[in-house]
Amino acid sequence: MSINKVTTLTEAVQGLVNDGDTIALGGILSREPVACSYELIRQHKKDLTIIVDSHDESVELLIGAGLVKKVESAYIWVGVIGSGLNFRRAVEKGIPRHVEVEDYTNLAIGMRFLAGALGVPFMPVLSMSGSDIPKYNDKIVSMKDPYKGQQVNLVPAAEPDVAFIHVQRADKMGNAQIWGMLANDVNIARAAKKVILTCEEIIPTSEIRKIPNMTQIPHYCVDAVVELPFGAHPLGVAGYYWLDTPFRKEWLKASKSQEGFDAWLEEWVFSWDTFEEYLHKLGSDRLAKLRKLERDNYRIPRIENY
């Protein structure tokens, strides 16, 4: 009961991700694995297919860096502050490369992960009927259900090669505890062939046992565990830190042109060797303030209180 899966992000990505892989990403705005996207970019992984529900930086950065050949998604944008300029440029103009799109809805993507998590080939959903989503996506199969004759749309199981999931805390085995919204992470972890789990804190298994309901991903789904504080920066993690909006605005501004975005990548993604250096570049005062903004108001309750 003490399998140690702890590794570094660099090693996990080197060992578990291949060019041409299909990648799923956890979180939505909160807990998006942004540091993992930085690492994929740093290792120049190629021709990735991305399956996501609704994502921001974690996907936008990959598209802008030219790593993505296809997205199977419900929504890609830069939430709260602006538009997905990298996504637009890639789809509309093929810069830095054309990204093929395959549209779904959030529930449809959720059902794809659920099917993958259950090991069944597809799931039915009532959404999308009458819209143009199935018209442009031939993976969606419309049929009458064999029991009541109701119109349903079938969506295929998502079985990503690798999933990146960032959570609040986990033990060395990979039992992952999530606080706040879960998005589709519970099913993504089960649907993926390999899971790279990053967390704000590694905690002893004895702490996990105190509140097992919070363990949303059991260790047997997980291949690598990386302790990565601020691994979602500039996005937030419930109970740990709030959104770094000035940083987000700065990179978004840079992404107005491909040249601007490339220069931003040089400065913020290629200029360091370890993620700690990135955090150092941001400065401890800034990180402490992002943490304070969250924790003065919202934190995981200490279970001793009960």
């Binding site: 529930l107 959720g110 819209s131 442009y136 349903v152 919204m181 998005a183 519970v186 709030w242």
Partner: protein, 283 residues
């Protein structure tokens, strides 16, 4: 009383949310309209956010459907497919969403403005996609749509139907097997549109004070029908405006100004701290 178009939209939308309703909140103006309703006339409404937050009474305005605030002081923190599944199952009374382009049957496009000689794979303008909007438009009992009335947003025919309104007219939703009631109202910065129960066509029902029928008509891309009993929307009250600004002191929803300005991290930190203090007064 002075008020902005944005304040007017928030107020008009919030008033359409009823007490005791389970309200599914979309991105943009709905984020603020839901909280305003819950602080004024609908204290028992329960706000549901797509990434899994149910019933948050948060100490800051949720800026999106998935940020940390959406489960702050909440009743439930669960999964995305679970809450959208609850809509499909019929537990949700009303959903409030925004749109980029709409046609006369209330169908919405948030996927792509394809444009002449262009394709879905290489459109003139790519938009974010459905998110959960199609799921809500398909299955929510009531659907409120909020979007600005601007040229080329209200069009005769869409390039792409992302989220279903009444599709091609009467009987189409039923034929497609959609369970939800379809759009009830479209709240804009100039007026409120509703849908004819027989023809399912969008018509002008209420004007904001000072706006003319011609002004509305000129921004609509089809021969717009006008209610024979046209009403004037009650402007926001002083209390509504005061509460809106307490909830959104940064102007994330009310005015994009402060969030778009080049702002130092230190300024941002100080303003965010004030946000908490401001919201705390309302809890």
């Amino acid at each position: 009383m002075n008020y902005s178009a944005q304040e007017f939209m928030v107020s008009a939308c919030s008033r359409l949310i009823k007490d005791n309703e389970c309200v599914f909140i979309g991105v943009g103006i709905p984020l603020l309209a839901g909280v305003v309703a819950s602080k004024i006339h609908a204290p028992n409404s329960v706000l549901i956010y797509e990434a899994g937050g149910i019933g948050a009474i948060s100490r800051r305005l949720p800026w999106s459907i998935s940020d940390n605030a959406t489960t702050d002081n909440a009743l439930v923190a669960t999964e995305l497919w679970r809450v959208l599944g609850d809509v499909q199952r019929g537990f949700v009374d009303v959903a409030v969403i925004g749109g980029a382009q709409i046609d006369k049957f209330g169908n919405l496009n948030t996927t792509a403005i394809i444009g002449p000689d262009k394709s879905y794979q290489k459109p003139q303008t790519r938009l974010p996609g459905s998110g959960g909007a199609n799921d809500l438009a398909s299955s929510a009992k009531r659907l409120l749509i909020i979007m600005r009335l601007e040229n080329r947003k209200f069009v005769e025919k869409l390039d792409y139907i992302t989220s279903p309104g009444f599709l091609a007219g009467p009987g189409c939703r039923e034929k497609a097997g959609l369970k939800g009631g379809g759009p009830e109202a479209v709240i804009t910065n100039k007026c409120i549109f509703r849908f004819d129960p027989l023809t399912k066509e969008m018509y002008l029902d209420e004007l904001f004070p000072g706006v003319t029928i011609e002004e509305v008509r000129s921004d609509v891309g089809w021969d717009l029908k006008i209610s024979s009993d046209i009403k004037i929307v009650e402007p926001p009250t002083e209390k509504e405006i005061e509460i809106m600004h307490k909830i959104d002191p940064l102007g994330v929803v009310l005015g994009r100004k402060s969030i778009q300005e080049n702002q130092s991290f230190e300024d941002y930190y100080q303003i965010m701290k004030k946000c908490y203090e401001s919201m705390a007064l309302l809890i």
